[in-house]
């Protein structure tokens, strides 16, 4: 496997070509790299990462882009602890290279924490903050160049193998390289040496020369370079990006090719709406230009590469020409820290998939969420979460990182019979972990397939990868010997009978919520799931569909046929009512629009999809909806249904508007389907939506905790 071949970076060698790239984590304390950082990177080192780039540190006090952004002058102890931990995590000869990420965010930073003006080549306000930066004076330029060199010296002193300098989507150096942001017209709009053909290289050249002069030829100098700013009117276009990369090749050992800029920061780490491997054409073009100058510079691919097969293909596997020398697989290793170890062990099919959902790993947000993963909640919480496959009493993992594959050997001291009711992701994770710890697990599911609400959510536009977590959990459960029964209703009587000699965990999911508008048929709130009526129904001409029922029409029935939206829904325009502002309504509106339906999306907020700000999809989602011709009705609440449509009311002015439609899709919040819990004496533990309908992350977190609590209960 090419992915597992050693990688030469300058004068150093990484054990393989899997890169854990620089990214915001919010794991720091104030501006210091913390013990949480150490545990986070150590875990990836143990799991087989070849190169680890530590979160970018600001090289100068004028840069404080987010509250927990590390400051290089305070990072030396943290870098040293990370390097030591990562090297110790693997056997000799397998130590990953550890690079310190270095950056100055320039006009894309923030003045909120520093209370200082932001520095930039020219006074071009950033699109996001609209704050006008200060055009840098010569002494300030010199200070930042010196800051980069000083930070690199500190990183090397801490034992880092080198540095990775940010010339990517959020960087002052890129701002100097680009016509979008560098309008100085002075010497800093030009280049040193023979590169003065419209390139604005000088600042980058001086920074990199300063670093190289400090760290010498032995240490690694890598850069992350935006080679396409997606703004062809003045920005770096791929051809120019390739020329910049070639011009810098003399100085650097590695170039990670990325795209995006002030108008397209979403291109940094887009979610599932963007095709995985979207940069592979760009990286090939840049690599060709770089290799023409210096063949020993490593060109690293980036861009939603989360499948090992795609990574292998990018490196020239499967008899294809190689496009890159290494692959950044950051989110893949947030989802499964053991990626490298599993590949090396031939367990590629056991790698926990990255869903490209960005729900927990995208943390550039003022609330400072800690980096984590919907499917692996322990990511980012290495110090405060128990490893689900390690003994509770001992904590921690085995040094070889193969805890998942030999999980069964670590039997709980008192194996229990366990009944898990409901095979959504909460139930699947509960069953998986319980079985891995040696319990005898029986998992029962009412419907014919496993995965629950995730399966239907995955039918939404751009969300297909969500289903991968259900597939993976199902495969792991089968591998762990979980007894799986589908298609049978589980009633209270059965649970009570089984509970005599089983521990019971209820993961029974959700049911439709109430409809606080006039004229709507209310979904059944019966306690008995078998009596649950369809959540959808007709009222006087306008048909009301729940989001789940609508998406289910796109899924195969037990007989394998797909009914499809068009067959299921009456003809005519559709109103999508979204009081949540989340992913579901947006994906449904897009799906309907893609089938040619006239769609109006009604929401209570000033923008559509407010909750998407965390995943980075807020602006892209609004753009996609507008491009698809979806009408957006904001600041409004749904008041009533009529024979010909719906009545909505402006939240603030009270003005009422009628919208004609044949179908109303209700994307409101759900209620816990806790009938079985109530019917069995409210005594069995619950997990996931059965407690409160939320997201995949909470379902997996609670399913896992319920499984671990079995051990506690059994006295192990």
């Amino acid at each position: 496997m090419k992915l597992l071949e050693p990688l030469r970076l300058g004068n150093r060698t990484a054990p393989n070509r899997i890169v854990f790239g620089a990214h915001e984590t919010n794991l720091g304390r104030r501006r210091v790299l913390s013990e949480r950082h150490v545990a986070y990177y150590e875990r990836r080192a143990r799991g087989g990462a070849g190169v680890i780039v530590v979160e970018d540190a600001s090289v100068h006090p004028s840069d404080w882009p987010y509250e927990r952004a590390p400051l290089a002058s305070e990072c030396e102890p943290g870098w040293r602890a990370i390097v030591d931990a990562c090297r110790a995590a693997r056997g000799r000869g397998n130590e990953p290279l550890v690079l310190a990420g270095l950056n100055h965010a320039g006009s894309q930073g923030s003045s909120a924490f520093s209370q200082l003006p932001m520095w930039a080549p020219s006074r071009v306000p950033d699109v996001a903050t609209r704050e006008v930066p200060q055009a840098m004076e010569p002494d300030e330029i010199a200070a930042v160049i010196a800051g980069f060199a000083q930070a690199a010296r500190a990183a090397l002193a801490a034992g880092c193998d080198g540095v990775d300098v940010n010339l990517g989507q959020f960087s002052l150096i890129r701002q100097f390289l680009s016509g979008l942001t560098n309008q100085r017209g002075d010497e800093w709009t030009g280049s040193d040496g023979g590169h003065d053909h419209g390139l604005r290289l000088r600042f980058a050249q001086r920074v990199l020369a300063g670093i190289r002069g400090t760290i010498g030829a032995d240490a690694v100098l890598a850069v992350r370079l935006s080679c396409d700013e997606l703004a062809p009117w003045a920005g770096i276009i791929p051809e120019v990006g390739a020329r910049i990369a070639a011009a810098l090749a003399d100085t650097v050992d590695a170039i990670t090719v990325v795209r995006g800029s002030i108008f397209s920061t979403g291109a940094t780490r887009p979610d599932g709406h963007t095709e995985p491997g979207f940069n592979l054409g760009l990286v090939a073009e840049v690599r060709e230009a770089v290799k023409a100058v210096r063949s020993d510079v490593a060109v690293i691919a980036q861009g939603s590469i989360v499948e090992w097969g795609q990574a292998e293909w990018a490196l020239g596997g499967f008899d294809d020409p190689s496009r890159a020398d290494a692959v950044e697989m950051t989110r893949a290793q947030i989802a499964d820290p053991d990626l490298g170890v599993k590949l090396a062990a031939g367990d590629a099919d056991r790698v926990r998939p990255c869903l490209l959902c960005n729900q927990k790993c995208q943390v550039r947000d003022g609330r400072n969420p800690i980096v984590s993963c919907v499917g692996e909640p322990r990511s980012g919480h290495e110090l405060d979460d128990v490893d689900p496959t390690a003994g509770l009493a001992t904590g921690g993992d085995r040094a070889d990182g193969r805890n998942l594959t030999d999980g069964r050997s670590r039997a709980a001291s008192a194996p229990l019979n366990v009944l898990v009711v409901g095979a959504g992701v909460a139930g699947l994770e509960c069953a998986r972990v319980a079985a891995a710890r040696g319990h005898r697990v029986r998992l029962v599911e009412r419907s014919s397939e496993l995965g629950g609400a995730v399966r239907t959510a995955a039918a939404g536009s751009g969300r297909a990868r969500l289903a991968l977590i259900a597939d993976w959990l199902e495969a792991e459960c089968r591998r762990q010997g979980v007894t799986i029964e589908t298609g049978g209703e589980v009633g209270a009587a059965l649970v009570e009978r089984v509970a005599a000699d089983h521990a019971v965990v209820l993961c029974t999911g959700s049911r439709p919520g109430l409809r606080p508008y006039a004229g709507a048929p209310q979904p059944s709130v019966s306690d008995r799931p078998s009596a649950r009526a369809s959540a959808s129904g007709a009222f006087d001409g306008v048909v009301v569909w729940s989001a789940a029922d609508l998406l289910a029409t796109e899924r195969p029935s037990p007989t394998g046929t797909v009914r499809g939206l068009d067959a299921a829904l009456p003809a005519g325009p559709v109103v999508v009512w979204d009081p949540v502002g989340g992913t579901i309504a947006v994906s449904i509106a897009e799906l309907l629009a893609s089938r040619g339906r006239p769609v109006t999306l009604v929401c209570p907020d000033f923008t559509v999809g407010t909750q998407l700000s965390l995943t980075g999809d807020l602006a892209p989602a609004n753009t996609r909806l507008l491009q698809a011709g979806v009408a957006l009705v904001k600041r409004s609440v749904l008041r009533s249904l009529s024979a010909t449509g719906v009545m909505v009311e402006d939240r603030y002015t009270g003005d009422a508007t009628a919208i004609a439609c044949a179908v109303l899709v209700d994307c409101g919040t759900l209620l816990p389907d806790d009938g079985l819990w109530r019917a069995t004496g409210e005594r069995h533990p619950r997990a996931g939506d059965a407690v409160a309908p939320r997201t995949i992350h909470e379902a997996i977190l609670e399913g896992r905790r319920a499984a671990l609590a079995l051990d506690a209960g059994s006295g192990s």
Binding site: R123, P125, P133, G366, P377, P604, D655, R694
Partner: protein, 669 residues
Amino acid sequence: MARVARYPRLFSPLRLGPVTVENRVVFSAHLTNYAEDGHPTDQHAAYYAARAAGGAGLIITEEHSVHPTDWPYEKLIHGFSPSVIPGYRCITDAVHAHGTPIFAQINHNGGQASSMYSRLPVWAPSSVPDPLFREVPKELEVREIAEIVAGYALVAGHCHQGGFDGIELQCSHSSIVRGFLSPATNHRTDDYGGPLARRARLLLEIVAAVRETIGRDLALGVRLCGDELIEHGTTIDEAVEVARMVEATGHVDYVNTSIGVATATLFMIEASMHVPPGYAMFIPSAIRKAIALPVVGVGRFKDPLQAERALDAGHCDLVGIVRGQIADADFVAKARSGHVDDTRLCLSCNQECVGRMGLNRWLGCIENPRTGREAEHDRWTAAVAIAARPQRVVVVGAGPAGMQAAIAAADRGHRVTVIERESVPGGQVRLAATVANRAELGDVIRNQVTECRRAGVTMRFGEEATLESLQALHPDAVVVAAGAVPERPWWVPATDPGVDSPGARIVDVTDVLAGRAAPAGRVTVFDELGFHQATSVAELLADRGCVVEVITPGMVVGQDLGITLDLEQWWMRASAKGIVQTTDTLVMGAGPCADERPGLALQLVHHPTGGSEVREVDWLVLCVPAAPADGLWRACRDAGLRVERVGDCVAPRRIHAAVVEGQRVGEQL
């Protein structure tokens, strides 16, 4: 003491159970984001101590959480952890050093939260998602209700050990008790839901448990919401009824009041200058008529006279003044001593206090650089004495940056002269404050002018400073605070003076506010700033009878009004005034209209779709970034003068940036 007679009621003592307050001004509970890792910090102590030193009658701290399921925002104090007690001690010792009583507010935010930090299900009376957080909570089991009650008692005990003089139960704004009291969020059918007496059961259980824990040594207060301003929410009649129940327990020493729900109607809790002062007085007034306990009234109290009148009219027994004391920690002392004109009046702009809370940043103040930095300032003032050698400092420009630099320098003992080109101070703030509903912004000018006068700064108006005129003054240091000048985008056509042309119908927002331009008819306001500039001028022109449209490349017109809680009311006013709002759109060109129609043809591009259209209007008003007026700074620097620059002539930004920069440079001369 003759001065006190000006505000006899404000400065009369009052008993709250075992505690006597010397005056009626309460620094009521509010978030600060000063906590770290769930613990109070030195900054908390310094912040509260500054208000105690400034004369506040009573301080109530921000909330302390009673249970690990409650973690709605990152910098919440985890009162349930015993490790907070040393921090409590630091706070109470610092405040008691000034003889001021201090209470702790304790709370569980209930469903008004997410699991982002706690990684636990959110707890609430019913599975009703909060309008802000949108996370479906877990409907509390009865044993969990008991856990919450026990949490209140536990934290009350921590507060007692930490030296607090009283406990306030937060039952409004954002609280599980509010959640139980309100029919909007309590849909339970058990003993904790249904009729008011059952919805109030949790509150009464908590009152009993807390009183049992603290005994009679500490005061106990309850903060109730008089009107949630939400559908099916609590209104004043039920609030009065709950106040009666609270009084009937015999356990409670006072009732505090509030209006609104923090996660639904925050813009009416922390009302900006667009809401009239005293707007929430009906609540304490109604409650005070029903009960004998002392009642606290709140709601945008700007000055001591207003507070005195509220007491005199019998609306309340105490007055909660938060922002007034954020802006001026000595608010009470100045009122007591009669130096009311010296009070740094709060602008109710919400930019750096309320605005920073929503963004998870530490609380500050637009015009008081010390707020939020008290702990640091205390260290500085210990280290930095008055300048050994007073210098002659000349400041060019009497906007917020220049005046703040002058104040800071004069406070260090320097001899400071401010030279201003205009005949009046204030710079662009003066223009912004000319719009009727933005007038209170102008208080910052009044405040700074007063400070300058107190500090002995010489102000010269109507004088244009040049390199030569500055050199003639032989200053030791020059601070250039010359502001910014409007800049026209590249696509604006050139104009000939005095000739009507498309370019002549394109004006800057400052031209309109200063009266240099008077657009009429169909007016488009193009906004790249996203703040009050565009919305203010749009309202001004609509009031003058123009047909107004605001166009922005952003997703929302007046995007940053959301931060200051002005967005909702802007929308209401704009709708009433017929102002059209167009988003996601750029103006890319301007020229004459077709067929020689009068006016101006604007080329618009809808950037998400690339769609373009032409809009014919009579005038275009630009709200776009200005250019720094840094010429004088460069000239001084090149001539070898010792020169600094502050404010918009560094980079055109908002008032706060100007003030903190002025302060920083002024005190470092």
